[in-house]
C-alpha cells in the first residue's frame, strides 16, 4: 500500500487560515468490476459489468462501458433512473462530488448502484494507485477532478486491453459522457472517446420517452442575450456581500395569492423582507435560500393585498407590466422593508405535481406546466407525448432558470394518472406532502412472520397470561388496526383510606415483538413514522399482515400485548402501576356506539358490561381531575364521509359524533401514556422519547381575545388553568355552538406538540400545556406511530422484558429520529386535510347547499367562515365599494350591518370547477341580506331544498344497506 498526503487550506471559525494535512492511502487491491478482466482477483459476486455490453446508441456500434462526469449525474438522474442505460462506471470522484452537492441525488444514485440489474459499478479511483491524481499547484479543484475522471477512463481502457490475451471476442471500450466542452476537447486529445449526454440519449433506440427526461441544464447566467432578468451575483460576491453587511441571507417564501410577490425572513429584521415583481424576485422559487439586497427606505412598500394569478397564455419569453403592484401607501407604519433578490445561495427544488397547459400550436414540443402548488411558477418542458399527457396529472423536475427565459426549464419525470381519477389525485396528495407510500420492498416483507403465525409456547411462558381475563377493545366503526384494549375488575381488598379498589389494565399491541431493531422492516417503519389516513385510503406504517392482523387486537383471538396495569381506588387515584408483556384474548372488539349501548342497557349484567361501566365511571373521575389541573378541552371540526361502496366517492358528510365511550378510552390511554412517560424518563434521563406541548406565545392570542371581547367575554389566558376556566364560563345559552367555536379558535392560537429526547430539554420544558401534565409520551398506538415503537422498546428494556440496543440509547440518533417524527406527523396531518378537501369537492360536484355558518376571522376583503355541519372553511369575498373595513376593531361595516368574528350567517355553497387543478368551494352570503352582495334565494332554492331532503331520505336507506364503510381513525390522543 502506498502512502501520500493531501494538503488543503481551510478557515477556522475565528477566520484563521488553517493548513490541513490528511493521510491518503493508495491501494493495489481495488477491483475494476468487469467480467472481461482477468487481472483483478474478482470473486463471482464482485463482477458487475457485462463482458458483452451491447450498445443501444446508434452513434456507437461497438460494445462499451460508460463513464459519467459529476454534472451528468447531478442533472440527468431522471434519465439514469430509467431502466435503459446499463454498464456504467461511477467513479468515486463523481460519487463524492455528488454527495457534497446534493444529498437527495446522492441517495438516488446509491439506490441505482445498489440495484444489481442496473450494472452500475462504483470504482474507487481516488484510492487506486494507478488512477489517483494529485492536485497541481494553482489547479482548480474542478479541473483536478475532471483530470481524475479522464485518468480513470483511460486507465480502464488500457486495463481491459491488458486482459485481451486470454479473452476471445471484443474488448469493451470506454465512452466518457460529459457536457463540458473543454473537458471533451482534452479527453479527445488524450484518446478517450467522448460524447454529450444529449447526443447519446437522443440516439438511443428502443426507449421511447427517455428523451423527455433529459434535463435542460443551461448555465443560467450565461444567457445574457435577450435577458429578461438581472444577472445573479457569483457565490464569492454573495459571500463577501453578506460578510460586509450589504446583503442578507434568507429563505424565499412565495405568496400563495400573488405570483409576483414573496417574502424572506432575515434574522436582522423584525418583519419579513418584501420582494416584489419579476426583477425583485429574480427567479427565486419558494423555499430557495437567497441573497437579498435591501432597497433604500423611500422605495419600501407594503404587501399588496390583491390576488394575482399568472394568467399569461404562454406569451413566450416576455415579461408583462407590473404596475398593478404599486399599491398606495397610506401611513408610515404600513410599509415593510423591501428588497430584491440578487443571488441564489441554494436551490431547494423538488419534483412537482401538476398538469400541462394546452398548447395553441398542434404538434409543438415546448409546453407549459402548471404545478399544483400555487407558490411554484409555471415550468417550461419539452415533450413529444403532449397529446397523451394533456389529460394527465404529471410529475416534473426543475432543471434551471436562464436569464432569457420567462419560466424555469424542467423536464417530464412521470405520469401519475388521468386528471380527476381518484388514484391520481391521491397520488398527488401523497407526493406533495412527501408521504412515503411505495409498496413495501421485498426486504421489508422478508422480515414478516408467516401468514399462519401462531404464538410459540415458549413465548407464552415468558409472559403474563391474561387470556382468561375479560378484556375488550373499543374503536371507531370499521377500524382494522386495533392497537389498544382495556379491562377493569373489582379487587377484594380496600385501599388504606377504606375505599373500594379496582384493577384496571390497558393492553397495547406488542408490535416490537415483530418489528426488531435495525431490520429492513424497522427502518421502513422509522422512515414512514406514521400511518397516513386519507378519506378512502390508508397508507400503513407496517405491512398489512401486522397492522390489520397479527398486531390488531381482534376479538376472540390470542394476541401478544404490552400491558400497563394499575390498582386504583374508586376515586380513580392510582395506588400502584406495573408494566409487563402479556398474552391476551379480547372478549369483544366493539365500536364506541356498541360500548355505549352496553353501558346504558340496564338489563345487561354480563362481565363486559360491568367492566365497561367501571371503566366509564373511573374515566369520568380521571377526566375531572385532569380538568381541575387545568387541562384544556380543545376542539377541531372533524367530519366523516359516508363513502359509496362501489365508486368510493363520498355521498354524505357529517360531523363526528362524540360519545362518552370515546372519552372513556381516551382517558385510559392518557393515563397509560403518562405512566409510561414517568417510567422511561426516570430510567433514561438522556434518551427517553417524550412529547411536549409548549405554552403558547402570549401575543398569538391578541386577535382571538379581541374577537371574544366583542361578544362580551373577557378570557384569561395567563395559565392553562385560568384559560380553561374562562373558556368554560364563556357560554351563550341560545347559541350552543359558540363555545365549541371558541375552543376551535383557541386551538389555532397554540403551538404544535412535538416529540423530543429527554436529554435535549430541561425538566420544566417537558410540560404538556394542553393536557396540563408535567410529562407525556406516546405508548398506545405502536401499529400506526413509530414513536410508540421506540417507547415500547425503551420500556421493555427498562423492565427487563427485552434487550436494549445500542441505537436505542444513542442521543444523536434520538435527535434525528425526533426531527423526522415531527416532520412526518405534520405532513401526515396536512395530507389528511388535503384528502378531506378533495373529497368535499367531489361531494359538491353538481350540488349546492344553503347552510348556517359562523365567522372565524374578518379580513380586509373577506370573511373567513366555518360551516359547522361540514367542518368546511372558506372565504366570503366582500366588495370594497360596499363594505368598509375597520382595522382597529377587525369588523366589516356595510350600512347598518356590522360583521364581526363569531357572528352567525347563512351562506350558499357551490363548487367552482373552472380551474381543474384548483377546484374550490365558493361561499356566498345569504343572510344578513345585503342588496347587490348577498345571494338572492328564489323559488329554485326552495325546490332544491325539498330535493335535498328527499335525497337524504334515500341516502339514509342506502347507508343502512351498505353499512358504515368509513375507515377514518379516531382523533389524536
Amino acid at each position: 500500500m502506498q502512502w501520500t498526503t493531501k494538503t488543503f487550506l481551510t478557515k477556522t471559525k475565528r477566520g484563521n487560515v488553517l493548513k490541513i494535512v490528511r493521510e491518503h492511502y493508495l491501494r493495489d487491491d481495488l477491483l475494476c468490476g468487469s467480467a472481461v478482466c482477468n487481472i483483478c482477483p474478482h470473486k463471482d459476486d464482485e463482477i458487475v459489468l457485462d463482458n458483452k455490453p451491447e450498445s443501444i446508441c446508434k452513434l456507437f456500434d461497438f460494445e462499451h462501458y460508460l463513464v459519467l462526469d459529476t454534472n451528468v449525474v447531478l442533472h440527468q438522474i431522471d434519465v439514469l433512473e430509467e431502466n435503459a442505460l446499463k454498464n456504467i462506471i461511477i467513479l468515486q470522484t463523481v460519487l463524492e462530488e455528488v454527495k457534497h452537492q446534493n444529498t437527495a441525488i446522492f441517495q438516488r444514485l446509491l439506490e441505482i448502484v445498489g440495484n444489481k440489474n442496473r450494472k452500475f459499478y462504483s470504482f474507487v479511483n481516488e484510492h487506486h494507485k494507478d488512477t489517483y491524481v494529485e492536485r497541481n499547484p494553482h489547479e482548480k479543484q474542478n479541473d483536478r477532478n475532471d483530470r481524475a475522471i479522464r485518468r480513470a477512463a483511460s486507465w480502464y481502457a488500457s486495463h481491459l486491453l491488458l486482459s485481451k490475451s486470454d479473452f476471445d471476442g471484443k474488448i469493451p471500450q470506454i465512452i466518457l459522457l460529459t457536457d463540458d466542452e473543454n473537458n471533451r476537447k482534452i479527453a479527445q486529445k488524450e484518446g478517450i472517446v467522448c460524447c454529450t449526454v444529449k447526443e447519446y440519449v437522443e440516439n438511443i433506440t428502443g426507449f421511447a420517452g427517455l428523451v423527455d427526461k433529459l434535463s435542460k441544464n443551461v448555465i443560467p447566467e450565461t444567457c445574457s442575450k435577450d435577458a429578461l432578468y438581472p444577472a445573479h451575483l457569483t457565490p464569492s460576491q454573495i459571500h463577501s456581500g453578506i460578510r460586509g453587511g450589504k446583503l442578507y441571507q434568507g429563505t424565499f417564501h412565495a405568496s400563495r395569492d400573488n405570483f409576483l410577490e414573496g417574502t424572506a425572513v432575515v434574522s436582522s429584521f423584525d418583519k419579513p423582507i418584501l420582494l416584489q415583481g419579476h426583477s425583485g424576485i429574480n427567479r427565486a422559487i419558494d423555499g430557495d435560500i437567497v441573497a437579498i439586497e435591501i432597497l433604500p427606505k423611500e422605495e419600501w412598500r407594503k404587501p399588496s393585498d390583491i390576488v394575482l394569478e399568472d394568467k399569461a397564455d404562454d406569451p413566450g419569453d416576455t415579461l408583462e407590466e407590473e404596475a398593478l403592484l404599486n399599491t398606495k401607501v397610506d401611513s408610515e407604519d404600513e410599509i415593510t422593508p423591501t428588497g430584491k433578490v440578487v443571488g441564489i445561495i441554494r436551490r431547494k427544488w423538488r419534483q412537482y405535481c401538476g398538469i400541462l397547459l394546452p398548447s395553441k400550436f398542434p404538434g409543438a414540443t415546448r409546453h407549459l406546466f402548471t404545478p399544483a402548488e400555487k407558490r411554484i411558477p409555471r415550468v417550461r418542458i419539452e415533450t413529444r407525448q403532449s397529446d397523451i399527457l394533456i389529460s394527465q396529472r404529471i410529475l416534473v423536475a426543475l432543471d434551471s432558470w436562464p436569464r432569457n427565459s420567462r419560466y424555469p426549464l424542467g423536464h417530464f419525470v412521470r405520469s401519475l394518472g388521468p386528471i380527476g381519477d381518484k388514484d391520481a389525485e391521491n397520488e398527488v396528495i401523497l407526493l406533495e406532502h412527501d408521504v412515503p407510500h411505495a409498496r413495501f420492498s421485498e426486504a421489508v416483507l422478508a422480515c414478516l412472520p408467516p401468514d399462519d403465525f401462531k404464538i410459540p409456547e415458549e413465548e407464552i411462558k415468558k409472559r403474563v397470561d391474561l387470556r382468561s381475563i375479560c378484556i375488550c377493545s373499543v374503536d371507531p366503526p370499521g377500524c382494522t388496526d386495533i392497537d389498544d384494549a382495556l379491562h377493569a375488575r373489582p379487587l377484594p381488598g380496600l385501599s388504606p383510606d377504606g375505599l373500594k379498589t379496582y384493577e384496571v389494565g390497558v393492553h397495547i399491541a406488542d408490535v416490537t415483538y415483530f418489528v426488531r431493531p435495525n431490520t429492513a422492516l424497522d427502518k421502513e417503519a422509522a422512515a414512514r413514522s406514521t400511518t397516513v389516513y386519507l378519506v378512502d385510503r390508508r397508507i400503513d406504517m407496517v405491512p398489512g399482515l401486522l397492522s390489520s392482523n397479527l398486531c390488531s387486537l381482534r376479538g376472540g383471538e390470542e394476541r401478544l400485548a404490552f400491558s400497563c396495569v394499575w390498582v386504583v381506588d374508586e376515586n380513580a387515584n392510582v395506588l400502584s402501576t406495573k408494566f409487563h408483556k402479556s398474552v391476551i384474548k379480547s372478549s369483544s372488539a366493539m365500536t364506541y356506539e356498541e360500548a355505549q349501548i352496553a353501558i346504558d342497557d340496564s338489563t345487561r349484567n354480563d362481565e363486559i358490561a360491568s367492566s365497561l361501566r367501571t371503566l366509564n365511571s373511573l374515566a369520568k373521575k380521571l377526566k375531572q381531575k385532569r380538568l381541575d389541573n387545568g387541562a384544556l378541552l380543545l376542539a377541531s371540526p372533524e367530519i366523516r364521509f359516508q363513502v359509496d361502496s362501489e365508486t368510493h366517492d363520498p355521498i354524505e358528510v357529517q360531523a363526528k359524533k362524540i360519545m362518552d365511550t370515546n372519552s372513556m378510552v381516551e382517558e385510559f390511554m392518557l393515563l397509560a401514556n403518562v405512566s409510561v412517560a414517568e417510567r422511561v424518563a426516570t430510567d433514561y434521563p438522556r434518551c427517553a422519547l417524550l412529547r411536549r406541548h409548549p405554552s403558547p406565545q402570549p401575543h398569538s392570542f391578541d386577535t382571538f381575545l379581541k374577537a371574544a371581547r366583542q361578544q362580551g367575554f373577557e378570557l384569561d389566558v395567563s395559565t392553562n388553568k385560568s384559560f380553561s376556566k374562562s373558556l368554560n364560563e364563556a357560554v351563550i345559552p341560545d347559541r350552543p355552538f359558540f363555545n365549541t367555536l371558541l375552543r376551535i379558535m383557541a386551538t389555532r392560537c397554540m403551538q404544535q406538540a412535538v416529540y423530543f429526547p429527554s436529554g435535549s430539554r430541561t425538566q420544566e420544558e417537558f410540560y404538556h400545556y394542553g393536557l396540563a401534565c408535567p410529562i407525556y409520551t406516546h405508548f398506545t398506538s405502536p401499529i400506526r406511530r413509530y414513536a410508540d415503537v421506540i417507547v415500547h422498546r425503551l420500556l421493555a428494556a427498562s423492565i427487563g422484558a427485552d434487550v436494549s440496543h445500542a441505537s436505542l440509547l444513542d442521543t444523536k440518533a434520538a435527535d434525528a429520529l425526533c426531527d423526522n417524527l415531527n416532520y412526518r406527523h405534520r405532513q401526515a396531518q396536512y395530507a389528511g386535510r388535503a384528502s378531506v378537501a378533495l373529497n368535499t369537492h367531489i361531494l359538491f360536484k353538481n350540488r349546492e347547499e344553503i347552510e348556517s355558518a359562523v365567522v372565524l376571522a374578518v379580513k380586509r376583503n373577506a370573511l373567513q367562515v366555518l360551516i359547522p355541519k361540514y367542518g368546511l372553511e372558506g372565504p366570503i369575498y366582500l366588495p370594497s365599494d360596499k363594505f368598509r373595513y375597520n382595522e382597529e376593531e377587525h369588523v366589516q361595516i356595510c350600512g347598518d350591518v356590522i360583521l364581526r368574528t363569531f357572528d352567525e350567517l347563512t351562506v350558499r355553497l357551490t363548487l367552482d370547477s373552472s380551474n381543474l387543478q384548483h377546484r374550490k368551494l365558493v361561499f356566498q352570503l345569504v343572510k344578513p341580506s345585503i342588496p347587490g352582495v348577498s345571494y338572492i334565494a328564489d323559488e329554485q332554492v326552495e325546490k332544491m331544498e325539498i330535493e335535498e331532503i328527499d335525497k337524504k331520505e334515500n341516502e339514509k336507506k342506502r347507508k343502512e344497506s351498505t353499512g358504515g364503510k368509513n375507515k377514518k381513525k379516531k382523533s389524536k390522543k
Binding site: E23, V113, N518, H805, S807, L809
Partner: protein, 250 residues
C-alpha cells in the same frame, strides 16, 4: 447512527484504509545520544519522540524499596496541531496523559529488579493527528528497549472505534483525527500482546455493551500487529548496531 459516513459503500475509510488496517507505522531507535535510550515513531501523521533516562538513584522523596519508580512526562509541541497553541507544560490534559503512560509502561517494566531507583521517560508529541497516546506508548516501548531496561513483554497501544456499513456494526482500527472528530466512541487499549494482558483501557464516550467485545478485540488485534512491527524495528536496529560496534573494535 453516529458517523454513518466513516465507511464508504465499498468498505473503505476516508483515508482509503480498510476497517482492520493500521496507519503506516515508521520508527527508529536510538535517535539521540544524550539519553540512555530514545526512539522516534510515526503512526500516520502522528509523530512522537521518546527519551529514557535511567535507571538511576531515586530522589529521597520518591524512593521505594519495592521496585523502580517510573516517572513519565508527556508534552505536546506548540506546532503539533493545525492551530498553533501555547501549551504550558503540565496542563491538566498532559498530566492525565503522563499518568496513563506511566500506568501502561510500569506494567511492562520488570520493576522489582531496581529497588530504590528511578526511570524517567520523556515523550514529546511533534505532530498530533489522532491517537497520540497510542503512538506515545509505542515509542516509549522502543526507547525503553533502546535503554536496555528489562521488560516483561512489549507494551503496545492501539485504538478502535465504531462505524456501520449497511447498518451492520464494523469497528475501525487505529483511529485517526478525522475519525475521532466525527464524534463516535474511541476505545484505547494498551496491552502486552504476548501475554494477552491489558495494561490500560479507556473509552472516550459511552459505548453500548453489545459492541464492547467486538471493538475491544479489534483493538487487541491492532496491538498484536503493532508488536510485530516494533519487534522487526528492534531486530533491525540491533543488527545495525552490532555491525557498527564491530567496525569500532577493529
Amino acid at each position: 447512527m453516529p458517523g454513518p459516513d466513516l465507511l464508504s459503500s465499498q468498505g473503505l475509510r476516508l483515508d482509503g484504509r480498510r476497517p482492520n488496517e493500521l496507519r503506516r507505522i515508521r520508527c527508529k531507535l536510538g535517535v539521540f545520544t544524550q539519553p540512555d535510550g530514545s526512539a522516534y515513531l510515526e503512526q500516520g501523521n502522528t509523530k512522537v519522540l521518546a527519551a529514557v533516562y535511567g535507571p538511576h538513584q531515586a530522589s529521597k522523596s520518591k524512593s521505594s524499596s519495592e521496585g523502580v519508580v517510573v516517572n513519565c512526562q508527556y508534552s505536546m509541541a506548540t506546532f503539533s496541531t493545525g492551530e498553533r497553541k501555547n501549551r504550558p507544560r503540565g496542563d491538566r490534559k498532559s498530566q492525565e496523559m503522563s499518568m496513563h503512560l506511566r500506568q501502561a509502561l510500569t506494567a511492562a517494566i520488570k520493576t522489582e529488579m531496581y529497588p530504590r531507583s528511578q526511570i524517567d521517560i520523556y515523550v514529546e508529541v511533534l505532530q498530533a493527528d489522532g491517537g497520540a497516546y497510542c503512538a506515545s506508548v509505542n515509542a516509549s516501548t522502543l526507547a525503553l528497549i533502546d535503554a536496555g531496561i528489562p521488560l516483561k513483554a512489549y507494551v503496545c497501544s492501539c485504538s478502535a472505534s465504531m462505524a456501520y456499513k449497511d447498518g451492520v456494526p464494523e469497528p475501525l482500527l487505529d483511529v485517526g483525527h478525522v475519525e475521532e472528530a466525527a464524534g463516535g466512541v474511541t476505545l484505547t487499549v494498551a496491552s502486552l500482546p504476548s501475554t494477552g494482558s491489558i495494561a490500560l483501557l479507556e473509552l472516550s464516550h459511552r459505548l453500548h455493551s453489545d459492541y464492547f467485545e467486538t471493538v475491544l478485540s479489534r483493538a487487541m488485534q491492532g496491538c498484536r500487529d503493532i508488536e510485530i512491527i516494533l519487534d522487526k524495528a528492534v531486530r533491525e536496529h540491533l543488527a545495525e548496531g552490532w555491525t557498527k560496534q564491530d567496525v569500532i573494535t577493529i
